[in-house]
């Protein structure tokens, strides 16, 4: 799983996230009344269009399939901006086992220029940690947005223990991807 693969927490759960990449820098807090949906607020600086927005965000679990060794999810995600109708919406899907992860994200963003943002992510756990262990994942992320229209693929490392999760990715063209998540 990755940071965006868990856009909804457990019932009554709070989540605080920081996200930074070549496109944006954001701080996002959400609350999940149930495991089916979450709502929250996000403060986002768009580095490409040089704009800042605050969003009221809503995420809904469209479909989930649990099996003994895997979980598959499909989410609807949306954000209402505080100005200029700079709203966004999209879908996110993932499938994961304890060993493997595959996820995708597709987002339509309204801004000074409207654009789409999409990525696919693959992951493998080099070892299977138990509950309370320190967990590590090796990921590969490929992303593209309709502004620069370039496909960028780069490796990521993911670590989590307890309620804290950190994802780090690096590409020499786009610099660092940093995602930090805390659940409480």
């Amino acid at each position: 799983m990755n940071v965006e693969s868990r856009p909804i927490s457990y019932s009554g759960g709070h989540t605080l996230m920081h996200f930074s990449d070549n496109m944006k820098e954001s701080v996002y807090y959400h609350y999940s009344p149930t495991y089916r949906y979450s709502f929250g607020i996000e403060s986002l600086d768009d580095k490409i269009l040089n704009t800042s927005n605050s969003y009221l965000r809503f995420t809904y679990l469209l479909n989930r399939k649990n099996t003994k060794n895997a979980q598959r999810n499909l989410y609807f995600q949306s954000g209402l901006a505080n100005k200029d109708n700079n709203n966004f919406y999209g879908i996110h899907g993932d499938w994961e086992t304890r060993r493997y992860f595959v996820g995708f994200n597709y987002k339509e963003v309204k801004n000074i220029i409207d654009y789409t943002d999409k990525h696919i992510q693959f992951g493998v756990a080099p070892y299977l940690g138990e509950y309370d262990d320190f967990h590590t994942w090796l990921m590969l992320k490929t992303k593209k947005n309709s502004i620069n229209n370039k496909q960028i693929t780069y490796p990521m490392l993911k670590f989590f223990k307890g309620n804290v999760l950190l994802e780090l990715g690096y590409d020499k063209k786009t610099d660092w991807d940093i995602h930090l998540m805390y659940r409480f």
């Binding site: 799983m1 457990y10 940690g129 138990e130 262990d133 967990h135 309620n163 659940r183």
Partner: protein, 131 residues
């Protein structure tokens, strides 16, 4: 369901101080056997979980969709709010949640199912062990 009831009845007063008399551990396996019935829990983990517990009931719950530590955190947080819960453990490898309750607690599978569903996973079945 019949198998569940059978296991539950068999396990009454199981694992007291004379643990070896009741729990037969196969040295070539990581599973725990309760009077010949395979419990399918990690032997070391299960023994550690039981360590120091007495006058309790343990619910061993099979859960679907429990594929990562970070995703299972809410299960522990939900159950520990119940004052009748003495201890909880999550076995990711075997997809099991172990919950130790006080002896007085009337364990209801629907309640367990709902608490696990609140975390987004599905409880499939369970057995209760009296210790």
């Amino acid at each position: 369901m019949i198998r569940l009831l059978f296991l539950t009845i068999l396990s009454v007063n199981f694992i007291n101080s004379d643990e070896d008399q009741h729990m037969h551990q196969h040295s070539h396996s990581h599973d725990v056997y309760v009077q010949g019935e395979k419990l399918e829990v990690d032997q070391k983990r299960f023994k550690k979980f039981l360590d120091g517990l007495n006058n309790s009931q343990v619910a061993v719950v099979n859960v679907n969709g429990m594929v990562c530590d970070f995703c299972a955190r809410g299960i522990e947080k939900t159950f520990v709010k119940d004052k009748a819960v003495k201890r909880i453990d999550v076995d990711l490898e075997r997809g099991k949640v172990l919950i130790a309750y006080t002896k007085e607690k009337e364990i209801d599978f629907d309640e367990i199912k709902n608490k696990i569903l609140a975390n987004g996973q599905n409880a499939i079945d369970f057995i209760i062990l009296d210790i």
